[in-house]
């Protein structure tokens, strides 16, 4: 009904390598994009600023992690540390007098260098051992941040971010911050959408499925793993820098701690490994749902006049949120992206498909 898929498809290479193979997908993406563009005029500033903005930046970050975990199949438990490298180097670059445009790139590149340096050592081992090594990188970074005032700034290790300015324009309004985040998220999304169609994307998938089989096919798995780490670290670095520049306004070690690393990984897993739309859903669930559920419960208890102890009230949403993750992963272990895919596939040629059964 919505998707109107009929006739013969994928008859030639051009149609098979399109980003959106079905018009409905493209239209939906277009609609979401336009909604995103119009959001500052439609969405109340509270939701724009405290929900949509962090959601978009974290989605960009999660997509970066999805590249290394979902596409290249390498478990990464130190992603927040890589984001921290980007954030701190970008801020220091700006404080040194470099314009933000370049500072963001410097942030991305330094993340890339540190991320792939670590990958160089880490990739000598595989699977769970790799996961542990990346976790070690997180702890090393935590230690470095809490012990070097030169990097992390003075009192309570908080480093003020200078005002964001792009293309000679100082950005201080809510809408401005939002568009920066939106632009970055769109860029990363387009990159990831196209990754599937490139040799690099196919090589990464080959490495993920079986690295020595890939090697037999002539794919240098070590090289592609490093490349995946470097690319994803670049995305992480810029995302980390933008997170501080548009949302936190100062960088503190707690913003990039090991719990954050695990949260990003949870976003990717709940969203669906290797799924782009899944990353959007996953971030929404992990990042926003706790706050939303919390708000719902406190408003509900308030309007119903219930006398619930504040502590109980704080723990109920956590339980609900935890249960939600378990239920979702029970229904669809491949994550929210796959859940969306199932619905889409079901409706693909609806109702004719159903008639046949």
């Amino acid at each position: 009904m919505f998707f109107r898929l009929s006739g013969v498809h994928h008859a030639n290479y051009v149609s098979d390598s399109r980003v959106f193979k079905i018009p409905a997908d493209r239209n939906l993406a277009m609609f979401v994009f336009l909604f995103g563009l119009a959001a500052p005029f439609i969405v109340p500033s509270l939701y724009l600023n405290s929900y949509m903005l962090p959601w978009l930046i974290w989605t960009a970050a999660a997509l970066g992690l999805n590249l290394v975990t979902g596409w290249a199949g390498q478990l990464h438990l130190g992603y927040a540390a890589v984001m921290a490298v980007g954030a701190y180097s970008a801020i220091h670059a700006v404080r040194f007098g470099i314009p933000w445009e370049f500072a963001l790139i410097i942030g991305g590149l330094s993340s890339s260098v540190i991320g792939s340096l670590f990958a160089f050592a880490a990739l000598r081992v595989k699977g769970l051992y790799l996961a542990l090594t990346t976790l070690a990188m997180q702890f090393v970074m935590d230690w470095v941040l809490t012990h070097s005032p030169a990097i992390t700034g003075g009192s309570h290790a908080s480093l003020q971010s200078p005002t964001l300015a792009l293309l000679g324009q100082e950005i201080t309004s809510d809408a401005g911050y939002y568009y920066v985040a939106f632009g970055w998220c769109v860029l990363v999304t387009i990159f990831m959408l196209n990754l599937k169609r490139t040799g690099l994307g196919r090589a990464l998938v080959a490495v993920r499925e079986k690295d020595f089989a890939a090697a037999i096919l002539g794919v240098n798995s070590f090289y592609y793993k490093i490349l995946a780490f470097a690319t994803s670290s670049f995305i992480a670095g810029v995302s980390g820098a933008l997170l501080v520049a548009t949302f936190f306004f100062l960088a503190a070690p707690e913003q990039f701690s090991v719990t954050v690393s695990i949260q990003v990984l949870a976003m990717v897993i709940v969203g669906g490994l290797g799924s782009i739309i899944g990353s959007y859903f996953g971030v929404a669930l992990i990042l926003l749902v706790p706050g939303v559920v919390n708000g719902l419960f406190s408003t509900a208890s308030q309007s119903l006049g219930m006398q619930i102890n504040v502590e109980t009230l704080a723990h109920i949403p956590n339980a609900v949120y935890g249960a939600l993750i378990v239920v979702i992963l029970l229904i669809e272990p491949l994550g929210l992206g796959k859940l969306y895919g199932n619905i889409r596939d079901y409706l693909m040629v609806w109702p004719f498909d159903q008639l046949r059964k």
Partner: protein, 412 residues
């Protein structure tokens, strides 16, 4: 996307419902965005219960300027983005006084509060240099900074040694992250100034393994050990001290040690243990007694009675006595409704205010947003906290040097 828009509609619908039922008069509201579910739960339940109780008591007595007051408690799970969300949401509901009782969240909110002109109370958490009112206009960390608290601990040790610290060895056991590292600089400065020997003992988080630290303490034999740790880490420390035969009298804790920790250490074993504090410990406090007769005896308390038998409950009473006293003064001076401006002005009129003997007297000025930073040392005698000193605020020149040096870097 759809999930979000649907969630947004549900919220806005619910929001609409509550807006409809709201009373006409706009009460004075305090935004209590606390971590009630993660890292700070050792203190937040008691403190928020105190805040709610205090609001109830004030409303029973007719509110402030004839209007009731409201305390809005929300959980942020110690996550900066949820803290920001709480701050933004409550700001739009007309709240202009906030407290987070969480350092990461306080840090995240501070730039926004400074920008928006809303009051951020951050007693005992957040960046210490925010006491400098000339830089941090809208931030009021009323109470001691960790720098001031550490300096007062040294002053107490000096008293014990009749003013001569030249042969004294002081150990500093601390969590090896910004919270614990903060006093180091001031202790080093004072060690040079007073001539005592300072030994540093970093404890890796989460503090469950301190065996190496305390055997080192046994070897070095410091005369006193100043401790910057929280919650369960005190219990681990006490076990290790017993193992190494280090008497409990040497232990001088940061203010974050309460009756729960005492019970876990063991009441007998904890005798002699000391803590720095800016509130009076124990239950023999006028305001707490009033809570019991006015609320808890009538079954109107905001939580279980046991939680009021906790020094963090007193801490909460102290923090929110200040919040409401300032509101009362603002209403008196400039009438209702209270604005952020009039509230700020009222805060700065507080002079030697001690909430009826509940806490160290505070004097807030436009320059000193910390209220003087007085603390005293109390000792656990097996039943209650016994004060060892008067309310003191020593070495304030040294402390303010550190404050100024740090605050001057803000906004660079």
């Amino acid at each position: 996307m759809r999930l979000l828009t649907r969630a947004l509609t549900v919220i806005s619908m619910l929001g609409g419902m509550t807006a409809g039922t709201q009373v006409l008069a706009e009460p004075f509201k305090v935004g209590v965005c606390y971590d009630l579910s993660k890292a700070y739960t050792f203190a937040t339940p008691q403190v928020s219960q105190a805040a709610l109780d205090l609001a109830k008591l004030i409303n029973k007595k007719g509110g402030i300027g004839g209007e009731p007051v409201e305390v809005i408690v929300r959980d942020h799970g110690n996550e900066p983005q949820r803290g920001i969300e709480c701050y933004s949401r409550l700001s739009r509901e007309g709240v202009f006084v906030f407290d987070t009782l969480s350092t990461p969240v306080s840090l995240a909110i501070l730039p926004r509060a400074m920008e928006d002109g809303r009051i951020l109370m951050q007693s005992l958490v957040g960046r210490g240099d925010a006491v400098d009112g000339t830089v941090f206009d809208w931030v009021y960390p009323i109470g001691p900074t960790y720098w001031g608290q550490a300096a007062n601990d040294v002053a107490y040790i000096k008293q014990l040694h009749d003013g001569d610290l030249s042969d004294v060895k002081v150990g500093f056991v601390y969590f090896d992250y910004p919270f614990g590292q903060e006093p180091i600089e001031i202790l080093q400065t004072l060690s040079e100034k007073e001539g005592f020997e300072l030994e540093l003992y970093p404890v890796p988080l989460p503090g469950s393994d301190q065996a190496g630290v305390w055997s080192k303490v046994r070897r070095d034999k410091p005369d006193h050990v100043i401790v910057w740790m929280l919650g369960g880490a005190h219990v681990v420390a006490s076990k290790e001290m017993q193992r190494n035969r280090i008497p409990m009298e040497k232990y001088i804790s940061v203010n974050w040690l309460n009756e729960v920790d005492i019970a876990n250490i063991g009441n007998e074993a904890a005798i002699g243990l000391k803590r720095g504090t800016n509130v009076v410990g124990g239950q023999d406090v006028a305001l707490r007694q009033e809570m019991i007769t006015e609320l808890y005896d009538k079954g109107e308390g905001s939580g279980p009675l046991e939680k009021t038998e906790d020094v963090f409950y007193n801490t909460g009473l102290a923090m929110y006595s200040i919040v409401f006293e300032a509101a009362r003064r603002a209403a008196e001076a400039e009438g209702l409704p209270i604005t952020a401006q009039s509230y700020k002005a009222a805060l700065e009129t507080l002079e030697d205010y001690d909430a009826n003997g509940l806490m160290a007297p505070i004097t807030v000025t436009a320059e000193d947003h910390g209220g003087g930073g007085k603390t005293r040392i109390e000792m656990w005698d097996g039943e209650t906290w016994v004060p060892q000193t008067d309310w003191i605020s020593e070495y304030s020149d040294v402390v303010w040097d550190v404050v100024k040096e740090s605050s001057s870097k803000y906004g660079e």
